[in-house]
């Protein structure tokens, strides 16, 4: 059908063919009636009206798409380079070009302007070709200043640079540039935008802001300094509040740039963040405008003249000295007689490295950590604690809760490398040695007053790491620390969207599906009792109990949504690790209710966590139990997941929800096809 329509459109309109077009049109529209009249009952289903017209509609869309593409390609692709060359040298051609664009009817203005902006190789080309179109034509102005920048976000950085550079090049248009910047900043600093718009859009807006800043002159910045400052302060606050590190980083970079532009000679805002490719790319946008102004060449020669004559010699001599140095000792050896031989050395075998002895008993460790002023001993104790705990499980069990308490409150008294990791590993060791009382203590402290957020998150991390250790089989009597995901400080996917998570889930899916095709192909791992079995409930249920009870310093459902996010991710991991335990079904049910209660939470990180909870639930709880005990909840969850797939602004949430839906489908199919 689409081929037919395309052919018709491709034919150039001729005078005589309107009748042909009429006839064709009639035939196409009446085709269903025609065929049913002819075939009378043996009508193939495709010709039923309800099927036929959608088919027709689809074909029309396809053809229109082809038309628009070809138009763009052919017309703009050819037109623009020619215009470029022509307008480069000739004023008159420029005027012609401007008149041409100004006369484009309004309803095609957007397409034309967008096409030009996307295809132009540089802002100056755009300036030559479009002239002051944006000032003269309202529709063009709307497209350029509002639509491309605020309503769409799919364009590349080059497009943004073209557009904003174009605005910056002419004095008439610069007013628009400032207006654009103000509007961008308004969006950037609005907290609802930060919370609800997708990260890609926020990145797009940030890029646009940086490019605008790079084009502004000093006088212009001075004139809107106050507004820049207020927007920056508000915007930084909203961005730093977010749970996603990407958003926080964007906020930091933009704020730093604005601050650098405003306070050229005073102290500027400086944040600490990891430099990676994305950051470098964003920062490079700030200096893009420089090729237009004359860059003063670095006065290397001046510096050399002004510097002392000695110093260049010094640097040279240092180079020379490093090459000379190896030569010298050899010469010395050859020429000089060893007159040191008459000095006979004494016995120096006692000269060994001074080591502070670490305590050997657990109770001594407790004393060293709490009481003593001896910093060397304190350091030695911290370093030795984990191995001591693991080697003396009986002794540890006697004092486990006390030790857990000390470790939770332990602060870094002297500067040790890797203090946080050492403390965490000691905590994990204590927790795995005596899981139930220590878990009880830790989970109760999670919901207690007067702990810092960092301590609460430490509790969650330690619970996860210990759960992971307990649930993995021990090979040769040693715990396999290398197996599975690395048990480093962040086992939880942190605030990066759950990439690790998805990988684990994907692997699990794959392992499940593979089982049907080829049977058991996994190698025989050493098997041992699942130690997590008896304690899974103790880890899980206390954490889930009090989440809706706010304390004076800690309100999970209110401000501390970051901790809530971490809690949700922790529960997801604990659920995942509880596979094959007895309590898994009860855990699953409780988790489903928990997820249901929080399903409309506004924070992105929390929602991702909730979806991970569903994933681990579907993986860990055996399918029969899922369908027996939790059918209604599962159905409700399924409809919620469908909603998320369609309406959630974040791409990762949608993907996770889709994955979960697929999971559920697989489960259903599995239960239907597998022999019961």
């Amino acid at each position: 059908m689409s081929a037919l329509l395309w052919e018709v459109c491709q034919q150039p309109a001729q005078a005589g063919s309107p009748e042909l077009q009429e006839a064709l049109l009639n035939r196409i529209v009446c085709l269903p009636d025609y065929v049913s009249n002819k075939l009378e009952g043996k009508n193939p289903p495709v010709f039923f009206p309800q099927n036929y017209f959608p088919l027709l509609g689809g074909a029309i869309i396809q053809v229109l798409q082809k038309i628009s593409d070809s138009l763009r390609e052919e017309i703009l692709g050819i037109l623009l380079p020619r215009l470029m060359d022509l307008t480069k040298s000739d004023c008159i051609w420029q005027r012609i070009c401007w008149r041409l664009v100004e006369c484009v009817p309004d309803r095609w203005m957007e397409a034309v302007v967008l096409g030009f902006v996307q295809r132009a190789p540089g802002a100056d080309v755009l300036s030559r070709v479009l002239g002051n179109l944006v000032v003269k034509n309202k529709k063009a102005q709307f497209v350029v200043t509002q639509k491309v920048l605020l309503l769409q976000y799919g364009h590349t950085t080059a497009v943004l640079q073209n557009l904003l550079g174009y605005l910056a090049l002419d004095s008439l248009r610069r007013a628009l540039l400032i207006k654009v910047l103000q509007e961008l900043l308004e969006t950037w600093s609005s907290s609802s935008a930060v919370k609800h718009s997708p990260p890609e859009q926020q990145q797009y807006i940030s890029k646009a802001i940086l490019i605008c800043l790079s084009h502004l002159k000093k006088t212009e910045i001075e004139s809107c300094r106050q507004e820049l400052l207020t927007s920056m302060m508000e915007g930084v606050k909203c961005h730093l509040d977010s749970s996603l590190p990407q958003i926080r980083r964007l906020g930091m970079i933009v704020a730093e740039s604005i601050s650098a532009k405003i306070n050229t000679d005073g102290p500027v805002l400086k944040f600490q963040y990891e430099e990676d490719d994305e950051v470098r790319e964003l920062k490079s946008l700030l200096v893009q405008a420089l090729p237009f102004c004359a860059v003063p060449s670095l006065p290397d020669e001046n510096r050399n003249d002004k510097a002392d004559a000695a110093l260049p010699l010094v640097s040279e001599s240092n180079d020379k000295s490093h090459t000379a140095a190896p030569v010298m000792p050899d010469e010395e050896l050859d020429t000089e007689l060893d007159s040191d031989d008459d000095l006979i050395p004494y016995d120096m075998s006692e000269d060994k490295e001074v080591k502070i002895k670490a305590p050997v008993y657990i109770r001594d460790c407790i004393e060293a950590l709490t009481g003593s002023e001896d910093m060397d001993k304190w350091e030695a104790t911290i370093k030795a604690l984990e191995s001591l705990v693991r080697k003396n499980p009986e002794a540890t069990r006697e004092v486990s809760v006390e030790l857990a308490k000390i470790l939770l409150h332990l602060e870094e008294k002297t500067c040790i490398e890797g203090f946080v990791e050492l403390r965490q590993r000691a905590q994990v060791a204590v927790l795995t040695t005596d899981p139930i009382p220590v878990a009880k203590y830790l989970t109760s402290q999670f919901y207690s007053l007067n702990y810092s957020l960092r301590q609460r998150m430490d509790i969650l991390d330690v619970l996860v790491l210990a759960a992971q250790e307990l649930s993995y089989p021990k090979s040769h009597g040693k715990t396999k620390h290398s197996g599975g995901p690395k048990p480093c400080i962040q086992l939880l996917p942190g605030s990066d969207s759950s990439k690790d998570w998805r990988r684990i889930v994907d692997e699990r899916i794959k392992s499940k599906t593979r089982r049907f095709a080829t049977g058991q192909s996994q190698m025989e791992l050493a098997s041992g009792a699942n130690e997590f079995n008896s304690v899974a409930g103790h880890f899980f249920f206390p954490l889930i109990q009090h989440f809706d009870r706010p304390l004076t310093t800690f309100d999970l459902l209110g401000e501390d949504h970051f901790v809530l996010g971490r809690l949700v991710h922790t529960l997801a991991v604990l659920m995942y690790l509880a596979v094959n335990t007895v309590a898994v079904a009860a855990m699953g049910k409780a988790l489903l209710e928990f997820v249901w209660a929080l399903r409309f939470h506004t924070d992105l990180y929390v929602r991702q966590g909730l979806l991970s909870c569903i994933s681990s639930l579907l993986i860990s709880v055996p399918a029969e139990r899922l369908l027996e005990d939790m059918t209604e909840e599962l159905l409700e969850t399924q409809s919620w997941l469908g909603d998320v797939v369609e309406k959630d602004p974040d791409g990762d949430c949608r993907r996770l929800a889709l994955q979960n839906l697929l999971f559920m489908e697989n489960l259903k199919k599995k239960l239907q096809t597998a022999p019961s």
Binding site: V314, A325, S339, D340
Partner: protein
């Protein structure tokens, strides 16, 4: 078979505070008694009689603030002491007096020991850390006139000067200054021009102490890390690294070369004193007596080589006196 290291010849007790600096004055003829001056953390300078092993006098001139440098000017009747009260005091100890004749207010709150050089009869040059962070000031004593102020160039980022050594190639020639800084470099300064002649990055950590042999133009520096660095000065007055030596334990507080240039002693944070041969830094002995960080070591200037002594002062309030390698 190597002999076990010797024990101290005797141990001086009685300072009741950590000992930060030591200086011998044993060059006098009989009946002059060999003297050891020690400066402690409680602000006292003790004058030890090395025959009786007792304190002859205790000088109190720094307001109970720690004394971290003592030197004699010429003979034992004139003493220079530097304390944490930001003052350098000049003492007259002749005929039993204990008077501070003069003092210099340094306005420096660091720990850098000053360095003294005799340029003529009755005239000395003294280098000390100045008020500004990276500067070293050189004064002429006893007139206390400033000879020059040595300021590293802006952006050099050397940090505080940690240790100083004034020296001259031979009597009457240009005095030069070697300074070790917080960033681990050693700089050779020309005093008449006030400009650095050469700079060498010897250590990663601050240079804690250095000493220089002007005959062989070879020097040694120690730091808070495990490396001893030996460097030399070539004909163009440029410093270059000659050798490095790795220690068992990190941290050196003081280094001194014996006046006959045969051996070097280092005072370590690991409570041990190490002796090396100076020619090739061959490890000779490890003297393990003290129970806390050794802050300073000093060789005596006895005319009779067999009577030469090594003294070490430590945080454990003791001064150990050793007689080692006296036969050469």
């Amino acid at each position: 078979m190597a002999l076990p290291p010797p024990d101290p010849q005797f141990v001086l007790r009685g300072t009741s505070a950590a000992v930060h600096t030591l200086h011998f004055s044993c060059g006098g003829q009989e009946p002059d008694v060999p003297i050891l001056f020690s400066g402690s953390e409680n602000g006292f300078i003790h004058v030890w009689n090395l025959k009786t092993h007792r304190v002859d006098t205790a000088l109190d001139g720094h307001g109970r603030k720690s004394v971290y440098c003592v030197e004699t000017m010429g003979d034992k009747t004139r003493l220079l002491s530097q304390g944490r009260d930001q003052r350098i005091c000049l003492w007259d100890l002749a005929e039993g007096r204990t008077a501070v004749t003069d003092s210099v207010f340094t306005e420096n709150v660091g720990f850098c020991r000053c360095s003294l050089l005799t340029v003529a009869q009755g005239r000395w040059l003294m280098a000390m850390a100045a008020k500004a962070l990276e500067e070293v000031q050189v004064l002429e004593l006893p007139s206390k006139t400033s000879v020059c102020t040595l300021k590293p160039e802006a952006g050099a980022k050397l940090g505080m000067p940690m240790c100083l050594k004034l020296w001259q190639l031979s009597s009457g020639s240009q005095p030069l200054l070697l300074a070790g800084y917080e960033d681990g470099s050693v700089v050779l300064w020309n005093l008449s021009m006030g400009k650095p002649l050469s700079q060498l990055a010897c250590h990663q950590e601050p240079v804690m102490s250095l000493d220089f042999d002007s005959e062989k133009t070879k020097g040694i520096s120690g730091s808070s890390e495990k490396v001893l660095s030996i460097w030399s000065l070539n004909e163009q007055q440029n410093l270059q690294v000659y050798k490095t030596h790795n220690l068992v334990n990190a941290g050196i507080s003081d280094i001194t070369i014996r006046p006959d240039k045969k051996i070097v002693a280092t005072a370590g944070w690991d409570h041990r004193i190490r002796i090396f041969g100076w020619k090739k830094l061959k490890p000779l002995a490890v003297l393990d007596y003290h129970t806390a960080t050794v802050h300073c070591v000093s060789f005596s200037n006895h005319k009779n080589p067999r009577e030469r002594l090594l003294a070490a002062g430590s945080k454990d309030h003791r001064i150990s006196i050793w007689s080692i390698y006296t036969q050469t």
